[in-house]
């Protein structure tokens, strides 16, 4: 489970002063469900995910991931999560197999257990034919599969996806979404950041629309549609964000 309460993050920029990247975000994501974070670029989605994955420390508020506090129990949180983003590269001079072993080791998995998990992951994701190729030589789709392998190797109960299909072609995007759907059935808690409404409509059980660092709307897709009176999530998003921007 992922739970935040009034979570905020401020940055101090020498030129622009205090920047409120995330402000008072309160939300809950449950096991076996996909929680969508919808927002335009710069809305605060990535900052929120970085706080949840303990890369950034919140300025105020609190957050729990898999029952662990992100500030006080950061190491336990990191042990419980997997993080996938399309923009994250792989180590070009390592092979796919070496990367999987490396990340297994970072999670304290060594020896026979590591071999079992790496072999299983390679087989499950269909990496076998290029498992021993250097990542520099792999196609974008192949790299993304290796990244998925790295994300799930330690079998974390919570998975964060930060625009995982960004820059990928339709076929690879489809595979990524199928993977997200599959892990949902395994009872994992999933937080899925995207600005692509069709993805959110297809995948998300619950959605929070985030804009300017704050949550502007929160509920299931159908609840958001009825709240906004629109027929599609895209129109609902524009209605909610645009409407509130006009109010401001």
């Amino acid at each position: 489970m992922v739970r935040t309460h009034a979570l905020s993050k401020q940055f101090i920029d020498p030129k622009r002063g205090v920047i409120k990247a995330v402000e008072d975000v309160t939300l809950e994501a449950h096991p076996g469900k996909i929680f969508g974070l919808l927002g335009a670029n710069g809305a605060g989605k990535t900052t929120l995910l970085r706080m949840l994955s303990t890369v950034l420390e919140p300025t105020s508020g609190s957050a729990e991931v898999a029952g662990f506090d992100v500030v006080k129990q950061s190491e336990e949180v990191r042990r419980s999560i997997g993080f996938l983003s399309a923009s994250t590269a792989l180590y070009g001079r390592s092979t796919a197999r070496e990367i999987l072993y490396y990340f297994a080791g970072l999670y304290g998995i060594f020896g026979g257990d590591a071999k079992k998990r790496v072999d299983a992951t390679i087989e499950k994701l269909g990496i076998t034919s290029y498992a021993d190729s250097l990542c520099d030589k792999l196609s974008t789709g192949q790299k993304q599969r290796v990244s998925i392998g790295r994300t799930i190797l330690h079998d974390p109960p919570v998975l964060f996806f930060d625009e995982p299909t960004s820059g990928l072609d339709v076929l690879v995007s489809q595979k990524v979404m199928e993977f997200v759907e599959e892990v949902r059935t395994q009872g994992k808690t999933i937080v899925y950041c995207t600005h692509i409404m069709s993805e959110a409509e297809r995948l998300c059980d619950q959605v929070a629309i985030i804009h300017g660092g704050t949550v502007r709307a929160y509920g299931t897709v159908s609840e958001l549609l009825s709240q906004s009176g629109e027929s599609t999530l895209e129109k609902a998003f524009l209605n909610i964000v645009g409407h509130q921007e006009n109010e401001e």
Partner: protein, 392 residues
């Protein structure tokens, strides 16, 4: 396996797969030493060889000119001093000698006029050779004259400085030229050995966002920093070792003119080697930690490379000074052992002179080790600061 070792081994494997590392950090140091000294040996030999000197002479038929020819010097006759000067101006002559017409035994002192461009190094080399050559002729004729008058030949040298070598440390010692150059050529690799890869190590990972995947693993940030630091230190130390290996290869190969540079041996034995490596390790650690801190501070690889370029100038200054420390008493003072870079150079100098002593080595290890610890603490603290690590 401890996370630090796990990260260290992965970084090391990736580095060794990088052609830049294999070429610049492992192969080049040894090659540069061998090539530099082989080339210098040839140049020194060529410059000092009389047969490679061409002297232009006026009155080329005089006995002085013949004495030159006997000394293997090439002679080109010119008609007048004016013509010789024109050749110097045109860069076609180095030294023009104007010999007197009188035979040497009729006057008490013979003056040979030498014309040259003082800005030309080659002219000075030629003049030195001429001074030596005519000095010998002059001494020989003086001795003959003294003997003909029944006087002792020793009167030609009324005051003689008799040299008595006092052997300090080992008898074997590298030549003065090697002693001034080698410490510099070994120490520079403590910085430049790792420089080719360090921007990739942290700033590059920031840029490609792979660092973030490390940050969300259960491994502590300090462990990530130390793992990377150890890998970089290993590469830098390998570079220094490659340079030292180059010195040994050069001393064993004794190719042509290089052997002249090593007439007195190398001065290096196992204890000296251990002393040198002992002081180099903490120096390498200090510089590796400095480079990791710079790479962690930079937003991307380009910025890291530009910061490292600036840092290299700061590091280069004391490194360049190492070539000249032997000309001052500072080289013998204990204080030098507390100054990083200079202390390692001083230890390498002493090793090449066969004069390694324990106390300076220990002070150097302590001083470099302390600095390395401080710099590593700073670098690991930078890994704790999200403002630095997550900025892009």
């Amino acid at each position: 396996m401890h996370p630090i070792i796990h990260i260290y081994l992965k970084e090391l494997r990736d580095m060794f797969r990088d052609k830049r590392v294999r070429a610049n950090a492992l192969f080049m140091p040894a090659m540069i030493i061998i090539m530099t000294f082989t080339l210098l040996g040839f140049v020194i030999e060529a410059v000092n060889k009389p047969s490679n000197q061409t002297i232009h002479v006026v009155n080329g038929d005089s006995s002085f000119a013949k004495a030159l020819e006997k000394g293997d010097v090439k002679i080109v006759k010119v008609d007048s001093v004016e013509e010789g000067k024109k050749l110097i101006e045109a860069g076609k002559a180095t030294v023009v000698l104007d010999f007197p017409m009188q035979p040497p035994n009729r006057v008490p002192q013979v003056k040979i006029q030498a014309y040259f461009d003082p800005k030309e190094e080659k002219a000075k080399v030629s003049l030195g050779l001429l001074q030596k050559l005519y000095g010998e002729v002059s001494k020989k004729s003086l001795k003959e004259m003294l003997a003909s008058k029944g006087l002792p030949q020793e009167a030609s040298d009324p005051i003689v400085v008799v040299e008595h070598e006092v052997v300090v440390g080992k008898k074997e010692s590298a030549g003065a030229f090697l002693i001034s150059m080698l410490p510099y050529l070994i120490i520079i690799w403590a910085f430049f050995g790792g420089m080719s890869i360090v921007s990739d190590l942290v700033a590059g990972e920031k840029e490609k966002l792979t660092l973030e995947t490390l940050l969300i693993s259960p491994v502590k940030r300090s462990q990530i920093a130390i793992g990377k630091f150890l890998a970089l230190s290993t590469i830098s130390m390998s570079s220094c070792t490659s340079a030292i290996l180059g010195v040994f290869i050069m001393s064993k190969l004794k190719m042509g003119a290089t052997s002249k540079l090593m007439e007195g041996g190398l001065g290096f034995g196992l204890p000296e080697l251990l002393a040198v490596i002992g002081t180099l390790i903490p120096l390498v650690c200090f510089l590796a930690a400095l480079m990791i801190a710079i790479s962690a501070y930079a937003k991307n690889m380009r910025e890291a490379q530009s910061h490292l370029g600036l840092a290299s100038f700061v590091v280069m200054m004391p490194m360049m000074m190492t070539q000249f420390i032997g000309y001052s008493d500072f080289a013998k003072s204990m204080a030098i052992n507390a100054i990083p870079i200079l202390n390692s150079a001083s230890i390498i100098r002493a090793a090449l002179q066969g004069k390694t002593e324990l106390v300076p080595v220990l002070i150097s290890i302590l001083a470099n080790g302390l600095l390395a610890a401080i710099m590593l603490t700073l670098a690991t603290r930078m890994f704790q600061r999200e403002k630095i690590l997550v900025r892009s």
